[in-house]
Symmetry: C2
Subunit: 386 residues, 2 copies
């Protein structure tokens, strides 16, 4: 089914976001399933949505980035147990991108963790049931916490024009909100937490809706305010996030990967005093050295669709070095680019490897796992991706 788009059976089991009806009305074409919830992936086309994101401002239903809320006397202790990130100094109102690992150091999720109050946290999830992991750990350790999925649904405003839209909605103070900082507020009485965050490097905000009954109202309110700025409905862009070096849990990492090999070592403080889950495993991995590394690959100029599977990466002989985890055509770079996880000895910038795809074999030039893109106005492609 390479290149084709299969159909999705919709039953109640696949949860609907508070913005679902709005996205249908605004012309959503494709969905994915994320945390047991439908999440839009495309409105006009993958490439058209991308250009709107990098040149303007776009609104995304990312309610499927569900929250795990942890409150209670041991909440801070539990949250620190869950991540190798050093959270000792995390302030109320601050978020951190913090890997969650198991006792082997395997990646369970790569969420944002937000401190809402001294003893109250949200874990804003990629696609895995961290709710069950956190509940299991807390039960086994008899921690004094409550853990649940609150009625909280993020709506993302992303793109260089997002600040103008957000200021017209909330006032000038939002322009001064620090990166990865949150503030509780409301819009026409709709209760929200506003964060300066989002799964792109184009700038923007996430509005965490605190009342699922008011999703359509919030969506329409933001769309209306964005009209003078050319706002468009869109969705997390695989093209932009690969260009920008943002990883996707399940594609670029799984439970079989540790954070040190996928470029998240800078987020891990293995020398902190606190005894987080996976500490001794990760220290041992650091001591022995990682066996594989996530790198960027530049794979030629072909305009191909994204990968639907992991693709083997070989050396000049036929030895398997690893796999391509994400691959997209970058319209700004006019190159086919992606991420691969390959043996450490080959994970060296400037090295060339062989990529075996269903579209044929092509060379891959190893480089850093984020790509230098020219300004968005420099060139805009017109061909359609095959």
């Amino acid at each position: 089914m390479t290149g084709e788009t299969p159909q999705l059976s919709v039953v109640q089991r696949l949860r609907k976001s508070p913005f679902y009806d709005a996205t249908v009305r605004w012309g959503v074409r494709t969905f994915t399933v994320y945390n047991h919830m439908l999440m839009p992936t495309c409105f006009e086309s993958t490439e058209a949505d991308y250009w709107k994101l990098v040149t303007g401002t776009t609104l995304w239903d990312v309610a499927a980035e569900r929250q795990v809320e942890i409150i209670g006397k041991d909440a801070f202790r539990l949250v620190r147990l869950l991540t190798p990130c050093n959270l000792s100094e995390i302030a109320v109102g601050q978020c951190k991108y913090a890997p969650v690992v198991d006792h082997n150091g395997g990646m369970i999720n790569d969420p944002l963790i937000t401190r809402l109050d001294d003893d109250r946290f949200w874990i804003s999830l990629a696609d895995s049931d961290v709710l069950l992991w956190a509940k299991g750990v807390a039960l086994g350790m008899r921690l004094d916490v409550e853990i649940f999925e609150p009625d909280v649904s993020p709506l993302a405003l992303q793109g260089p024009q997002s600040r103008a839209v957000a200021s017209s909605l909330f006032g000038d103070w939002i322009g001064t909100l620090g990166f990865f900082r949150v503030r509780e507020t409301e819009l026409d009485g709709i209760p929200l937490v506003v964060a300066r965050s989002g799964w792109s490097k184009q700038g923007g905000f996430e509005f965490y809706l605190l009342d699922g009954r008011r999703g359509e109202e919030l969506w329409e309110r933001v769309m209306h305010a964005g009209k003078p700025f050319g706002i468009a409905p869109a969705a997390p862009s695989t093209i932009e996030r690969v260009e920008s070096g943002l990883l996707s849990y399940g594609s670029d990492m799984t439970l079989d990967n540790n954070p040190l090999e996928i470029g998240l070592q800078k987020l891990c403080d293995l020398d902190q005093e606190f005894d987080f889950i996976g500490k001794s495993a990760l220290r041992e991995i650091r001591r022995a050295g990682v066996r594989q590394k996530l790198v960027g690959l530049t794979m030629g100029e072909q305009r191909l669709p994204g990968n639907q599977h992991w693709w083997p990466v070989l050396d000049t002989g036929d030895a398997v070095l690893g796999k391509v985890t994400s691959a997209v055509y970058s319209p700004r770079l006019q190159r086919y680019i992606g991420f691969a996880i390959i043996e450490t000895g080959h994970a060296v910038p400037g090295k060339t490897v062989r990529v075996v795809s269903p579209h044929g074999e092509f060379p891959g030039l190893v480089g850093p796992a984020s790509f230098e893109t020219p300004p968005a106005h420099a060139r805009r492609g017109s061909e359609k991706i095959s």
Copy 2:
């Protein structure tokens, strides 16, 4: 988007089953996502696939029913902790349908648990990451176990002709395999565990493939053997499972439901000595009495598609009593039937409630949560569901 089938974006994050390429070749039309994996839901049409199941034999890719394998000294103890089902007597080679609940008694999953050896178990999952729950509990309690997702992918052969197909593949012994019993075997050297089980009441087997590289080979081998018996590719049938009273996790129950209110009380031994997770919560719920109950509803003769959302259930005033969780048109009963979870006082056979659907309002007659169907040959509908 009521009645329409949206499209699904396929990326690596949505895992592919070992039978994926085979199902594409055999004409799969729609998928769902289940345990982060694509799972076929329809080949010819919902109703055509149903008739093939209830009159003949069908092959289903249910690899997305992933296994959690638990081995080690404390494996039996952990498995018993996870369920209110009394597993004290579970034999090697036996499976049990066993609810998994959290410490509040909330449903985490409704898997099959199989004992493969004294200290080795599989939990065959509905759609939630029980892997993370079990790992969290074991870590917190410092249990001596290993917990992982093995390379094991179920392929289901279901329908009244399944025994004939299975006998031609494996020999006569398979006809004597007891219900919910498993046996390790092979087929042309393909390693398998064979179970007499499956998510229908039409009879059949599940072949747990033990080597993901051999999925296509197994699929084609079974299809070939089934040819004289009119085998067809199909998928778990929402129509048949509702007729037969089989629940679907995420639709008919969530973490907000306890097993006592959804008809699984017969599986829960709250008086056993063993101190499983959720025991005191479930005993308290039993003492106080459940506030709501899952019932069957017969909702008239209209040929409507299945529900995509929960639908409100009202009394003759406008008080909300609960919700319809699953609804289908049953071609054998020529009735629109389903399940609802409603207030205990109204969960009385013979009572009539009001169902508010996007297709209009209709009365619902309360009855047991499984339906008496006439033999499949009695009548076969020809109209298409709108």
